[in-house]
């Protein structure tokens, strides 16, 4: 699936069925300015030389693409190539300097190690809080609660404060919540390699189930095998530019090539 297949009406042709475009990025550019000083003192001391203490670079440069419903897209690239920035722009967390991202449908992000968890609250309280952060109503959470706990397999500790959880338990609960949000678009940033092996397999099975249900998954990963296994389209980024857009196998080859440059 390449951009050229997309028709003007915002749908694309795949296997005879018309699939709607769910994410559209146009000329997305993001420039980062890195200031080395943070405090007032440092700013005053370095006043005038301030320009020298600024460093800027383009984390993303004129990125264009469209994603149709049901696609699993892998974002790959070397460290610092802009994949996580792109994911954040897609999620609306960072605003691009130029261009825009349009999307439709419910979006959920798999939070890295349960970023929305409060260590002093119990697992149960955190489930409600995190579900709400990801956009579930209280009633929906009540409905899914048992299913979330079952999926995470930590029922015995659900009323314990999460600061006493092991990191594995933490991630199990976070993953269990994220997959119950019923997203149309799921953003995943390097978090699938967590938990013990049976749980990882469970996660993969869930992701596959999501694919069959026609959900769109956008995945940032360094694992070539995982990308080849899951994705049906790959974007390779290098220094903020999209250098390849196409199938997974070719994408991995292009990725290896981009390392050499």
């Amino acid at each position: 699936m390449t951009v050229s297949d997309v028709t003007a009406s915002g749908t694309a042709n795949r296997g005879g069925a018309q699939l709607p475009v769910v994410v559209r990025a146009e000329n997305v550019s993001k420039r980062f300015v890195i200031r080395k000083e943070k405090s007032l003192k440092e700013r005053i001391v370095n006043f005038g030389r301030s320009q020298k203490h600024k460093d800027d670079f383009w984390a993303l440069r004129d990125v264009n693409f469209e994603i149709t419903a049901g696609t699993t897209l892998g974002l790959v690239g070397a460290n610092g190539s802009g994949k996580s920035t792109l994911l954040k722009v897609l999620g609306g967390i960072i605003e691009p300097n130029d261009g825009f991202v349009e999307r439709r449908g419910r979006l959920a992000a798999l939070l890295e190690l349960g970023a929305g968890f409060h260590p002093d609250l119990t697992g149960r309280e955190n489930v409600y809080l995190n579900s709400s952060i990801l956009g579930l109503s209280r009633k929906q959470t009540d409905e899914y609660f048992q299913s979330i706990v079952d999926f995470s397999e930590i029922e015995a500790f659900i009323d314990t404060q999460v600061k006493f959880y092991s990191s594995g338990m933490y991630v199990r609960l976070a993953f269990a919540i994220a997959v119950h949000v019923d997203p149309d678009i799921l953003l995943v940033d390097e978090v699938l390699a967590v938990g013990d092996e049976p749980f990882q397999e469970k996660c993969m099975a869930k992701i596959k189930e999501f694919q069959q249900e026609g959900r769109t998954i956008i995945l940032v990963s360094h694992s070539a095998s995982q990308v080849e296994d899951l994705c049906d389209r790959v974007l390779v980024l290098s220094h903020g530019n999209v250098v390849f857009d196409g199938g997974a196998t070719d994408g991995i080859a292009a990725l290896r090539e981009s390392f050499d440059r």
């Binding site: 915002g10 749908t11 069925a17 018309q18 699939l19 709607p20 769910v22 559209r24 980062f32 943070k38 405090s39 007032l40 700013r43 419903a69 049901g70 954040k88 897609l90 999620g91 609306g92 967390i93 960072i94 605003e95 825009f100 991202v101 349009e102 999307r103 439709r104 449908g105 979006l107 992000a109 939070l111 890295e112 970023a115 929305g116 409060h118 002093d120 609250l121 309280e125 409600y128 809080l129 709400s132 952060i133 990801l134 109503s137 209280r138 409905e143 899914y144 299913s147 404060q161 997959v179 119950h180 019923d182 149309d184 189930e209 069959q212 249900e213 026609g214 959900r215």
Partner: protein
């Protein structure tokens, strides 16, 4: 998903996918900007967005309240102990030892009502200012209308205010000083004025604090100073006396909306302030006339509310401009 979509055979799943595609094709595109709409209407769009997340706001307020005294034995009592000790200090040292209570009948009620309202303002601003930084983990990972973090701090400040209010009202009733008069209407007005200005500062300072961390320390110092810029431990009568003939200084003093709200709050709850009282020991009696409240107080309160709403509008616009870069600055 969960209860609704049990994995069945391939055909069923394909139709699930198809239904999803059909539903998605109907939806309009939304521009995912983290900075929100830039136009004037963006203010109302942001308000709508926050209203959509009110369940989350409620949970965040609970989280803040629950986690604050989570592992302490006395728990919530601590949020009362602090103002009560403050009251004791001001009552004993400022009131009795330094003699500030000489011209102020029912000094305890006077001071505690001032401290209660000030507590709301100070807590809203100081916890609100730090709120974006302290929720950095979330802000970097998910898109939410970020205004809900200062608002959640405000919510927990309101809760503490209400707890203190209950104590204050009980004390007033026990002392037999409950003011049954129309002046009581000043209490909600004062609350609204303080809330609007508190939220305004919390919103704008929380955003600035992301880019300049010194703000939160600056706020602490500023709150210490501002405490003395409002009639909390000294009375309005003292202010009027000390400016002597320079009455324009009173206008300057009342430019601070919190001073104005403080007077309104006291006028509502501190009955003795509006009555003639006789103070002192037998043999050394002083007659304290009622406080000369500012003449155009009602009008000033209306103006402070309107100015506050305008300021809140600009605060939210500034916040909206700045929040696009939150995730990379935290």
């Amino acid at each position: 998903m969960g209860s609704t979509e049990i994995p069945g055979n391939g055909h069923e799943l394909a139709s699930v996918a198809q239904q999803r595609a059909e539903r998605l094709a109907e939806l309009p595109f939304e521009v995912s900007v983290s900075a929100g709409p830039k136009s004037v209407g963006g203010f109302f769009a942001s308000i709508r967005e926050i209203a959509k997340h009110r369940e989350l706001l409620d949970l965040l307020i609970r989280r803040e309240l629950k986690s604050r005294y989570k592992d302490s034995t006395l728990g919530f009592l601590w949020s009362l102990i602090k103002p009560l000790v403050q009251l004791l200090i001001y009552y004993v040292f400022i009131g009795t030892v330094l003699g500030a209570s000489r011209g102020v009948p029912d000094f305890a009620i006077f001071v505690f009502s001032g401290l209660t309202l000030w507590g709301l303002y100070a807590e809203t601003i100081s916890t609100g200012t730090a709120s974006i930084i302290s929720n950095g983990g979330l802000i970097k990972k998910v898109y939410l209308p970020r205004e809900i973090f200062p608002l959640a701090s405000t919510g927990s400040a309101i809760f503490n205010f209400l707890v203190q209010m209950v104590v204050l009202l009980l004390a007033i009733i026990v002392l037999g000083q409950f003011p049954v008069s129309w002046n009581l209407l000043y209490v909600p007005v004062a609350f609204v004025v303080v809330l609007i200005w508190g939220v305004t500062f919390a919103v704008v300072l929380s955003a600035l604090n992301v880019f300049l961390r010194d703000i939160q320390y600056l706020v602490e110092v500023a709150m210490l100073l501002l405490f003395w810029a409002s009639p909390i431990v000294y009375s309005w009568t003292l202010v009027v006396q000390s400016v002597k003939t320079h009455t324009w200084l009173l206008d300057v003093y009342l430019l601070n909306p919190i001073s104005l709200a403080m007077l309104a709050f006291q006028r509502g709850l501190w009955q003795a302030g509006s009555q003639t009282r006789v103070l002192g020991d037998p043999g050394n009696l002083t007659v304290v006339p009622p406080v000369q409240w500012p003449a155009n107080m009602d009008l000033l309160l209306v103006l402070a509310t309107i100015a506050g709403l305008v300021a809140l509008f600009f605060a939210q616009r500034i916040f909206s401009r700045l929040q696009g870069n939150f995730a990379q600055e935290i």
